[in-house]
């Protein structure tokens, strides 16, 4: 197992490398002079030249890339001019907030989605199946930012059950119950679409598995139906559900950008949008590379989980 993890980590190196190249190339597509873009059109030529030198923009493209890469590898993501602090510090702080939100949503969508899908398959064409299918259809069609806004209207404004936005209460609070209170709405709004997709996939994976010969064997042995469904069938279906979970993690991470805007969550997505609007390109560049790298590592974890689940995968 250790060697398998190592092998996967090594195979991720070129992907991580490619990510930095792609991000760098996209960022160098900026029309015109970045320094002018940052400083605005009223900047003096001296200031523009100085900033260009500070940013290393006077050097050729390839050299600039390797300087940037080398700095990143030593933990220097540059300095955000709009926040006037090191990019990495800001990213780490913001990413931990995103991780709380997206992580919770991911766990929610995995558990609820698989459960709903399994129940739906077990009760195919029954009332529960039809109900779940309907809810799933609404879930995957509603934009998460709209769902979030509607949740605020209902649960925060009308019913006053939950706080409108933010991660912690401004006065007092700051403890775990406070965090959970603030987390419920954004996490469920973010999880809605992914839950729907996971539920759908789980349902069809279960239906596919339930037709297999080994399910008939389990029944022929006299295994109780509940165990046939939630043991034999679900276990086998997980093999095709887990890759879907890996993909959905990407969607949850993406959706977090919207949800962070709606709920004023101090995460990395809101940071990126603010940075784009302020043309703080180093912050965008660093943030995108950092989050993408984390996602790559997460996908390796998914592969490892898959190999633990399925003994047929050669490790």
């Amino acid at each position: 197992m250790g060697s398998y993890i190592l092998k996967r980590l090594i195979s991720a190196v070129p992907v991580l490398f490619g990510i930095t190249v792609i991000v760098f190339l996209i960022m160098s597509m900026i029309p015109g002079d970045p320094a002018t873009a940052i400083l605005g059109s009223y900047a003096t030529p001296e200031n523009v030249e100085k900033l260009n030198r500070d940013l290393g923009l006077d050097k050729p493209l390839v050299q600039r890339y390797f300087i940037w890469l080398e700095n990143m590898l030593t933990g220097d993501f540059g300095r955000s001019f709009s926040l006037n602090r090191p990019v990495l510090d800001e990213i780490l702080e913001r990413f931990s907030a995103t991780l709380v939100l997206a992580g919770t949503s991911f766990v929610l969508c995995a558990i609820l989605g698989i459960l709903a899908g399994a129940i739906s398959a077990a009760r195919q064409y029954g009332l529960a199946d039809k109900l779940i299918t309907l809810v799933v259809l609404i879930g995957i069609s509603i934009p998460s930012f709209f769902l979030g806004m509607m949740m605020i209207l209902i649960f925060a404004v009308k019913l006053k059950w939950l706080p409108v936005s933010g991660m912690y209460a401004i006065y007092g609070g700051g403890d775990l119950p406070d965090l959970i209170n603030h987390l419920i709405m954004p996490a469920s709004a973010l999880a809605a679409v992914a839950t729907g997709v996971v539920a759908r996939m789980s349902r069809s994976a279960m239906l596919e598995v339930l037709r297999q010969d080994y399910i008939r064997t389990a029944r022929a042995k006299g295994v109780r139906e509940r165990r046939v469904l939630m043991g034999h069938a679900l276990r086998a279906a997980m093999v095709s559900i887990i890759p879907v979970l890996g993909i959905q993690a990407g969607f949850v991470l993406s959706g977090a950008v919207y949800i962070e805007m709606v709920f004023q969550w101090p995460g990395v997505g809101r940071m990126l949008v603010d940075a784009i609007l302020k043309r703080d390109l180093l912050l965008v560049q660093g943030g995108v590379v950092f989050v993408a790298a984390c996602y790559v590592l997460f996908n390796i974890a998914v592969d490892v989980a898959q190999s633990l689940l399925d003994p047929r995968i050669k490790t």
Partner: protein, 621 residues
């Protein structure tokens, strides 16, 4: 046409089509409607509620008419979504076709690049592009299209690779056509449907994604607004004027939902598996719906199948897989059921414990008595307690019939614990004994093996061990040796025979091989097209087959050493059991058939245990 009919038979897809149709008509005629200018501000009329004078849906924070903005916004959103879907499909498909058609290094480099693009959570890539190009509707469109290129590239490459190896492409190459010609005239027409399906499944997403970017303020810029930026601008007044948010939100929801519904309908209509209902879940037991009276109990054997009728109901078709089959087996006895594939022998066997997949299987008549008790009448729990405990099964292909993800030790333990309250430790000891009793070498280590780690013969031994787990009285072996090679086959048969003698098991042995029947069975029943056509003591049937079909079937068995007899295949195919001919089902393939063979019902005649269903039998029985 059938496609459209299937699509609209799906009521939800029809609903989607109607909603989407209305929206598209509305936005097409929008410029003709008597609407106020969507960008005309009137700060005195801010936040008017819906159904206000002159403003059907009210006004927004600048006093602009929401209905007008909604319709113009929907126009923009739909157009942007469609255009980005088009460009994503165009570039993605081009890349995919080039990679798949040329293969080799080109393919490798391109697909590596695509993999890297797919390593990003999609929005990061979109944000990076917008960050570089600056906020704006066009740039959002470019970002969303670019992000979806890898999806098309990967799918289309897969299709192209499979097409590029086909004969017609080779033929075009040999004809001297250039690469461009081949791609455009031979490949593209075949790939196009896949591209269209790809667009139909992603366009909803793309509308949502561009709306999302606009919502973040990175897409369409004021004063113009698509649905996303309407929602984004309204967010500030969410609490005071919720209708300004709710209206565009519901519009996005309706668009995406109707596209999703339509897309599902398209997929279902195109997926032939769903048409035949094959994706329905088999129930825990076969449905029993007996039309006629239940046969009276008689004292034949331990397991007694009486006039069993099992059918498959697929749409309007009824396949009579098992037709009035009566069989019985006593302790220590081995009964063979023989026939070609599709003759109903496996379905007969599976009907005993209600294991026929249902739907589509239905047991429509007869009785299955175990020790006098009618199993077709038993509750699920009663049947479950008998499964594996009294009547156990051995199936054909042990790679498919053993659970691939459980260790075989655990599968054995589960079989034991399903019927006994033994501790796992005790059950494991029993499992070990079972593996030894079926002569598996290194049994203790084998317990921790997965099925794929064993050979076919070893797996079938595990299958037998599992059948023996609860010391059943009856074992039903459904072609247990068909998937094995001949030497292993002989070992398994010897093993079964020994077990029968040691434990006094009653065995029903299903096979298509008379050689196997001769080796193992006391009695044999020959099935054809769902009916028993001949039965009797194995020796009697083998020595003097009475039904022409049996005779031909025996002639199919090669003879070792002798070689005097001609080995003959039976010409023709068995009839399809949803359209059984009148009279004898074999008549069409029988060289002795006469007019009478094609008429009426031909009964099973003879003196027990010998009987034949033939008007002109080869031997009198």
């Amino acid at each position: 046409m059938t496609f459209l009919r299937l699509l609209f038979r799906n009521r939800l897809a029809g609903l989607g089509a109607v909603i989407l149709g209305i929206i598209i008509i509305l936005v097409t005629i929008t410029p003709l409607l008597p609407l106020p200018d969507p960008n005309a501000t009137a700060t005195a009329n801010r936040f008017l509620r819906p159904f206000s004078e002159g403003h059907l849906l009210g006004t927004d924070h600048l006093g602009r008419d929401i209905l007008a903005r909604l319709l113009y916004g929907t126009r923009i959103s739909l157009a942007i979504g469609l255009v980005s879907a088009f460009f994503a499909a165009l570039f993605g498909s081009a890349i995919g076709i080039i990679a798949g058609y040329f293969g080799g290094r080109i393919d490798n480099v391109i697909m590596r690049l695509i993999d890297m693009l797919m390593a990003f959570p999609y929005i990061l890539l979109a944000l990076a592009i917008v960050a570089a190009l600056g906020p704006g509707l066009m740039n959002a469109l470019i970002a969303v299209a670019a992000v979806n290129v890898p999806f098309f590239a990967r799918n289309i490459r897969g299709i192209t690779v499979s097409l590029a190896g086909r004969e017609f492409i080779d033929a075009a190459r040999l004809a001297g056509l250039g690469h461009t010609r081949i791609i455009l005239s031979e490949l593209l027409p075949n790939v196009l449907p896949v591209i269209v399906i790809g667009i139909s499944t992603t366009v909803g997403w793309m509308i949502l994604e561009t709306a999302g970017l606009s919502f973040l303020g990175l897409g369409s810029q004021p004063p113009n607004a698509d649905l996303g930026s309407m929602l984004g601008e309204a967010r500030a007044a969410l609490i005071t004027a919720p209708h300004t948010s709710i209206i565009p939100g519901i519009m996005i929801f309706l668009i995406v939902m109707s596209i999703n519904l339509l897309g599902d309908g398209v997929r279902d209509a195109l997926d032939p598996r769903l048409k035949s209902g094959a994706l329905t879940r088999p129930r825990a037991t076969t449905r029993v719906d007996r039309k006629g009276p239940v046969p009276q109990a008689d004292q034949k054997g331990l397991l007694n199948i009486q006039s069993l009728e099992t059918q498959f109901h697929v749409g309007p078709r009824i396949y009579r897989a098992v037709n009035e089959v009566s069989l019985h087996v006593s302790a220590g006895e081995c009964l063979g059921i023989i026939g070609e594939s599709g003759s109903g022998k496996s379905v007969t066997a599976l009907s005993v414990m209600g294991l026929v997949a249902s739907p589509p299987g239905v047991i429509t008549g007869g009785a299955v008595r175990y020790d006098g008790e009618d199993l077709l009448d038993a509750s699920y729990e009663r049947l479950r307690q008998k499964r594996g405990n009294n009547v156990a099964y051995i199936f054909q292909d042990p790679l498919a019939t053993l659970h691939p993800l459980y260790k075989i030790g655990d599968q054995l333990v589960e079989a034991i614990q399903s019927h006994n309250n033994t501790s796992t430790k005790e059950a494991r000891t029993k499992a070990l004994e079972l593996l030894k009793s079926v002569r598996i070498p290194n049994a203790p280590e084998r317990l921790d093996n997965y099925p794929h780690e064993m050979s076919g013969g070893m797996r079938q031994r595990v299958g037998i061990a599992m059948a023996l787990a609860n010391d059943p009285e009856v074992i039903i072996a459904d072609e247990p040796t068909t998937a094995l090679d001949v030497t292993v086959q002989a070992q398994i048969l010897t093993l079964l025979d020994d077990l029968r003698r040691e434990r006094g098991l009653a065995i029903i042995f299903i096979t298509h091989d008379f050689g196997v029947v001769a080796q193992l069975c006391d009695r044999v029943a020959v099935m054809y097209a769902g009916r028993i056509v001949e039965e009797g003591q194995t020796k009697a049937v083998l020595d003097a087959p009475a039904h022409p079909y049996t005779k031909r079937l025996i002639a199919c068995v090669p003879e070792l050493g002798g070689g005097r007899r001609e080995l003959a295949a039976i010409p023709g195919l068995p009839p399809v059991v949803d359209r059984l001919p009148e009279g004898c089902a074999f008549a069409a393939r029988c060289d002795k058939a006469q007019d009478a063979c094609h008429r009426g019902y031909i009964p099973l005649n003879g003196h027990a245990p010998r009987a034949v269903r033939c008007l002109f039998p080869e031997e009198v029985v």
